[in-house]
């Protein structure tokens, strides 16, 4: 972000001497952009590199051209998409509803934000009200205590406590639903990682283990989340009895998370197995010559060299997990984005269709950011030159 702001400041005043011939070993612009560019590339933010180089005065014409390409081409595609969408909105309709226009979608988004803000106000008002009531009972408790009536004091204190612990029971806002979905996918993804990485390492290390497990992996890998869900439902219902009141961490959330786990563990498992099995033979020879213990081999050679592929697997897994989550939320009635889409669809009006389109964009953008985060992690653990 720093890069973009500074670039806008400097676009009008290119760095002195930047346009002229420059020596390759000494940077003569404002600052040397290479380390920042390197870092940005490493974090998967290569989009911002031309801005940094422009800010530094590194071949401004080339950078401006790159920036224009980076903005204009996607912008053009976006415009075409919106035009197509607008046409669809005009012509695609059923008896009760139709595809919302981009403008309707935008106002639906604003409506959802307003609703969330309104709920936030109501929630804080509710909190204040409860606090006031609790304060009244606190006073009574104090009075009873001073009067020496211990039983009454205790009862009053309990009343005060019960007011304080009351939660606002308003409908979940869009942000709550996003939060629920993110928590659910995180639980499912972490569980998948904890299962898949150890199994993958075993498969990669031991041929027999791999042969034994391979058919199971191949058969279960293509199974749809919708088919897993009833089975996860039985497991969770049989094994997990949540505290009655909490809607967060309820059964539905674990059913969703379990389905995410079952669908998303395969890419990590397979990539880990291949990463571990494909370790440079020279590196293993080093381990053999040094007679490293099994654990030392694992931590100092096997894991580091398999890490890039493990992270490739994790990135794929999280992508699959996020996709699966929406479907699982719908079926398990976990109060996340999937449930929101389904409930809104049942509502059936054009306005609710607009809300669904907002949800589609939100799901896509969140998925994109999750992928970027994993990509950055993947780049950080990948050493550039493997063949040393």
């Amino acid at each position: 972000m720093i890069a973009t702001t500074s670039s806008t400041d400097d676009t009008t005043t290119p760095a002195p001497g930047a346009g002229g011939p420059r020596k390759s070993f000494q940077w003569r612009g404002l600052f040397n952009p290479s380390p920042i560019a390197h870092l940005l590339n490493k974090l998967g933010l290569g989009f911002f590199v031309p801005y940094v180089r422009l800010a530094a005065g590194d071949e401004p014409q080339k950078q401006v051209r790159q920036i224009l390409i980076d903005i204009l081409l996607p912008g053009l595609a976006m415009c075409l998409f919106f035009a197509f969408w607008a046409v669809c909105a005009k012509h695609v309709k059923t008896d009760s509803t139709r595809i919302p226009t981009p403008a309707e979608t935008w106002s639906a988004w604003q409506g959802m934000q307003a609703f969330a803000a309104d709920q936030a106000v109501k929630e804080s008002e509710f909190g204040d009200k409860m606090e006031k009531l609790a304060a009244v009972w606190d006073k009574q408790a104090q009075a009873a205590k001073d009067a020496g009536d211990a039983a009454k004091a205790a009862a009053s204190a309990e009343r005060a406590e019960s007011y304080r612990s009351k939660e606002y029971a308003g409908p979940p806002t869009f942000y709550h639903q996003i939060g629920t979905s993110l928590i659910t996918v995180t639980i499912g993804f972490i569980a998948a990682t904890l299962i898949a990485i150890p199994l993958g390492i075993l498969c990669g290390l031991n041929r027999y283990f791999f042969i034994a497990l391979n058919p199971l992996v191949q058969i279960f890998k293509p199974v749809s989340p919708l088919a897993w869900l009833p089975i996860v439902f039985v497991f969770v219902t049989a094994l997990y009895d949540p505290p009655a009141s909490s809607h967060l961490f309820g059964r539905a959330m674990f059913i969703s998370a379990g389905t995410v786990t079952l669908c998303s563990l395969w890419p990590t498992l397979i990539n880990t197995a291949f990463g571990v099995a494909g370790i440079d033979k020279d590196h293993l020879n080093v381990a053999r010559v040094l007679k490293l213990s099994w654990f030392k081999q694992l931590t100092s050679i096997i894991l580091p060299s398999a890490l890039p592929l493990i992270f490739t697997g994790l990135r794929l897994s999280l992508g699959v997990g996020w996709m699966v989550l929406i479907a699982a939320d719908m079926l398990a009635q976990n109060p996340g984005l999937g449930k929101f889409v389904w409930d809104t669809f049942q509502n059936g009006s054009t306005e609710s269709m607009a809300q669904i389109v907002v949800a589609v964009f939100a799901i896509g953008i969140i998925g994109f950011f999750l992928d970027r985060i994993m990509f950055a992690l993947q780049r950080l653990v990948t050493f550039e030159d493997r063949a040393i």
Binding site: D282, N285, V289, L290, K296, S300, P304, S305, L307, I388
Partner: protein
């Protein structure tokens, strides 16, 4: 002087679809303690195979290898190996690469002592300032220096060098030969070098084992190098005996190394597959 390494009737045979394929056979070799021996020969004569068998990384088909009076059984840190590519772990620093072996061999020493040992050997190969650098930040020559430091830091009974300078340019190669000889002279470790560079073999070795061409390679000739140690490159190069030796070995490699195969007796023993 005592014998450090003895190869007795050593042979390597691979099982192939078309029957056994003999890489080399009848290899009998004794290396004295503190001696520097080179094995030279054309590609495919199995010279690297001999070394990796001594290292314990390659299975012995026939015969036996005795190191300091004991038959070797698998790899171990009593033999320091320098591979053709340095085989450094790219995710840890040069120091940690050396420490990996030091920690293993000097497990009774304190952490600071082990670090001291690793740093000592890194400075011996001229990398005192680069200890904390990752292998990617080092040049090819510097990486191989780390490889040499790692092998010496094990304080092994035997040093095994598998074409360690094969991937380096001529100038760097000369530098590293000097580094190697300096350390070797200090430590008096028995060393075995695989090379196809005749000059290198003559300059560093006490004896040069010339192998005939594979398959079914054998020791063709053993050449003793007469130069005094420590050797000075200029003096050695100027010595007429150097040129004589060089010509002798090159002549062996060019003319005589493949003679044996044309002998009727050898041809009869070569399975049809081996000729391929």
């Amino acid at each position: 002087m005592s014998i450090q390494l003895e190869c007795y009737n050593l042979a390597k045979t691979y099982e192939t679809k078309r029957g056994p394929f003999s890489v080399f056979r009848n290899l009998n070799l004794k290396v004295r303690t503190g001696e520097f021996v080179s094995i030279i020969g054309h590609s495919g004569c199995g010279k690297s195979t001999v070394l990796s068998m001594v290292a314990g990384l390659n299975e012995i088909s026939e015969g036996a290898i005795m190191l300091a009076g004991k038959e070797i059984d698998g790899p171990g840190p009593d033999r320091g190996v320098v591979f053709q590519s340095p085989c450094l772990l790219p995710w840890i620093s040069a120091l940690n690469n050396v420490l990996l072996g030091v920690d293993q061999v000097f497990s009774h020493a304190t952490k600071a002592q082990r670090r001291q040992i690793a740093l000592h050997y890194l400075s011996q190969v001229g990398l005192a300032d680069a200890a904390s650098k990752k292998p990617t930040e080092l040049s090819q020559g510097m990486r191989q220096r780390v490889g040499i430091a790692r092998a010496f830091a094990l304080e092994p009974k035997m040093l095994l060098l598998d074409e360690p300078f094969g991937m380096l340019d001529a100038l760097t190669r000369i530098e590293l030969q000097d580094v190697l000889l300096k350390l070797w002279a200090q430590k008096q470790i028995t060393a075995m070098l695989i090379t196809h560079d005749v000059d290198e073999a003559i300059f560093v070795s006490d004896r040069i084992i010339c192998m005939t061409d594979g398959p079914e390679a054998e020791i063709g000739e053993v050449v003793t190098v007469p130069f005094e140690r420590p050797r000075d490159r200029k003096t050695v190069l100027a010595d007429p005996r150097f040129r004589e030796l060089r010509q002798h070995i090159i002549h062996f490699l060019n003319e005589r190394s493949h003679m044996r195969r044309s002998l009727p007796e050898a041809a009869a023993r070569t399975p049809s597959s081996a000729a391929a």
